[in-house]
């Protein structure tokens, strides 16, 4: 697929969307940092979005990926495999026989770092959109 004038905009928009999804997942992890009950039983498990690169123009009639430019797609949202944190709280309703409560494997500091990364990545994407726009407007000014 030949790259159009506004392909960069489409690519950047897919990145913005993906980062927005990441932000949702982080918010969910932070909100459930102390959730001990879930539908599947056991404590809440930290979620991680998995991003996949999709060649621009895939699914159209032209052969995909020949220009090497890719969109981002959120492939799935996976559960973190780390063990839950065991905290000794005998009075807690969800404590086991030894008095330990299984709290989610969410590390709040880690989530905050991810949150900063996500918002900076979003800013970078928005800046690239702005820059595509200003390039187009500069082109419009040629010969004036």
């Amino acid at each position: 697929m030949k790259l159009g004038v506004f392909s960069a905009m489409e690519v950047a928009a897919s990145g913005l969307s993906a980062e927005r999804t990441r932000m949702n997942v982080i918010a969910s992890n932070l909100a459930n940092a102390r959730t001990t009950k879930t539908e599947g039983g056991g404590p809440y498990k930290k979620l991680d979005p998995v991003f996949a690169a999709v060649p621009l123009g895939a699914g159209t009639t032209t052969t995909s990926g020949e220009n090497g430019v890719s969109l981002v797609r959120v492939e799935r949202i996976a559960q973190d495999k780390r063990d839950p944190q065991l905290v000794y709280e005998p009075g807690h309703p969800d404590a086991d026989a030894q008095g330990y409560v299984r709290y989610p494997n969410v590390n709040v500091v880690e989530e905050m770092v991810n949150m900063i990364t996500a918002s900076r990545a979003y800013e970078a994407g928005a800046t690239s959109v702005e820059s595509v726009k200003s390039m187009a407007r500069t082109a419009l000014g040629i010969g004036r």
């Binding site: 004038v5 506004f6 905009m9 489409e10 950047a12 928009a13 897919s14 913005l16 969307s17 927005r20 797609r73 959120v74 994407g125 959109v129 726009k133 187009a136 407007r137 419009l140």
Partner: protein, 135 residues
């Protein structure tokens, strides 16, 4: 003989189309939280000939005494289609705000291009009409 405004007409159509598309995209943004909403987009349709084939919205005259119905604006400039390629959220809403914003921005620049070309074309005519004395 070449019509004075023959160059303007395609630009006129382009401006119409991009304005129309802006409205469609703005409506998608307005529905960013509507459950089950699938965003729409406007595809450019070439000329009035293919318009008849794709979408016939013009009123048919069934009696000679009837006034000729004017086709609606949408009919002449584009064809509306659903665009669910962004993927749905939990509420089956397919609108991606970022995608729509990017489309809006690109569409606006295209509108500016057409408008700039039309302006310069008209300025040339005005220059010629003024015996090339300048503005």
């Amino acid at each position: 003989m070449v019509d004075l405004f023959s160059v303007i007409q395609p630009l006129h159509d382009a401006l119409d189309y991009h304005l129309e598309r802006h409205n469609v995209l703005a409506s998608n943004v307005a529905h960013v939280d509507t459950p089950g909403y699938v965003p729409r987009d406007l595809a450019r349709v070439e000329g009035p000939a293919s318009f008849e084939a794709t979408l016939s919205v013009a009123m048919a005259r069934t009696h000679e005494g009837h006034l000729a119905g004017a086709p609606t604006m949408t009919a002449t400039t584009g064809r509306v289609f659903d665009d669910p390629s962004a993927g749905a959220g939990n509420d089956k809403n397919f609108v991606s705000l970022d995608r729509e914003a990017a489309k809006l921005a690109a569409n606006q620049i295209r509108y500016d291009v057409a408008s700039t070309l039309a302006t310069s074309e008209l300025a040339q005519l005005a220059y010629a009409a003024g015996d090339a004395r300048g503005t």
